[in-house]
């Protein structure tokens, strides 16, 4: 399973179009104001049947201009808000992708789920990335919904179908409230360990865990890992039996005396050293 950070749309083009629509709305509004004065002009300069017909035509044009100007203005506002929401989503996706590149495997715009050998820091990073992407997709979904609703209301397009919210989505906020901004993880900040998740309880000592590092070292290493430094906990030294046994007759090794210095513990050659997984 992968997490997609792909993004569709161009907020800058939305803002440009919104600006043009706003300019168009201003022009239509000016024209509407002039036509309104013509529709209600006095009969001092123009009176008679033709004057009434002229005022009637101006009144009809005033109604159309008012409708068009209002539609252009509302669409400009909605499109600017849509572009702002898209820009927030794009920024959240980009920061999330940057964060994932530091700790996880990213192929193009896809973030791969950490494998079974991933450490706690990588798992927490993936959980944070997953949650952030989910919130960003919710904001994106809401932005498209609001923009299409504005188009349906002011431009007469097909009404927005009632679709099921995204899984885990919260109820939509009131229409007057702005959509919630997705949290933007800062790639520069280290990933803090989840305070809600307590560290696992220490296992009872048994034969299999004789060589395991102490839990404090594990937690400290996990904190360091979550802080952006991918390290591994220090490995505890295995106890070496230094009891000297007198050589037997079958032993080919040269005789040693108790005063002979004992060489230090030899690392096990067949043990695979830990490396980046």
């Amino acid at each position: 399973m992968t997490l997609s950070t792909s993004f569709e749309g161009d907020p800058e083009s939305c803002w440009r179009t919104a600006e043009r629509l706003d300019s168009l709305a201003a022009a239509v509004e000016d024209a509407r104001g002039f036509v309104a004065t013509q529709a209600t002009s006095s009969s001092d300069d123009f009176a008679g049947w033709s004057a009434e017909a002229y005022r009637l035509s101006a009144g009809r044009l005033h109604g159309k201009a008012q409708h068009c100007g209002s539609a252009c203005r509302e669409l400009a506002v909605a499109l600017a808000a849509f572009g702002t929401s898209l820009d927030r989503v794009r920024l959240a996706l980009r920061r999330t992708r940057d964060l994932a590149r530091r700790h996880l495997v990213v192929e193009g715009e896809e973030i791969l789920r950490p494998g079974p050998y991933a450490d706690d820091g990588q798992r927490r990073t993936f959980a944070l990335v997953e949650e952030t992407l989910h919130l960003a997709r919710q904001v994106e979904h809401q932005a498209h919904h609001d923009w299409q609703a504005a188009l349906a209301e002011h431009a007469g397009t097909a009404p927005v179908p009632v679709v099921a919210p995204l899984p885990g989505a919260t109820p939509p906020p009131p229409a007057a409230a702005a959509p919630p901004a997705p949290p933007l993880p800062d790639p520069g900040e280290p990933v803090r360990p989840d305070p809600v998740d307590p560290p696992p309880p220490p296992d009872p000592p048994d034969a299999a865990d004789q060589g395991a590092p102490p839990m404090a070292a594990v937690v400290a290493a996990a904190g360091a890992t979550a802080a952006g430094v991918l390290t591994r906990p220090p490995r505890a030294r295995r106890p070496v039996d230094l009891t000297l046994v007198a050589p037997t007759d079958d032993d080919w090794s040269p005789a040693t005396s108790p005063t002979t210095p004992v060489p230090p513990a030899i690392p096990i050659p067949w043990e695979v050293p830990d490396g980046p997984r």
Partner: protein
């Protein structure tokens, strides 16, 4: 009896045409890239711009008609109530 102030009406006709041209000049609105809302965006903007184009045309036509009416009425004494009807069909209905 009717009253016509040619100077005021010519001024009004010029303003109507100017407003129509001004709206017409700002009708060049680029289509934004709205991702998966692209189809709805194109349809909605085309509708709004079509209506606005009709308003701009109406402004210019009304200004032209008023200018023609003033030009015509200056040489006609009365009975020009139907002149605007010929220029703007259905205007008096």
């Amino acid at each position: 009896m009717f009253t016509v102030n040619p100077r005021a009406l010519r001024h009004a006709s010029r303003d109507l045409i100017r407003h129509g041209l001004d709206v017409d000049d700002r009708l060049q609105v680029p289509l934004p890239d709205t991702g998966r809302s692209g189809c709805a965006t194109q349809e909605g903007l085309e509708r709004v711009l079509a209506e606005t184009t009709a308003v701009a045309d109406g402004l210019r036509h009304l200004g032209d008609a008023l200018d023609v009416f003033v030009t015509t009425s200056s040489g006609v004494d009365g009975g020009v109530g139907g002149a605007l009807d010929r220029l703007l069909p259905g205007a008096t209905s």
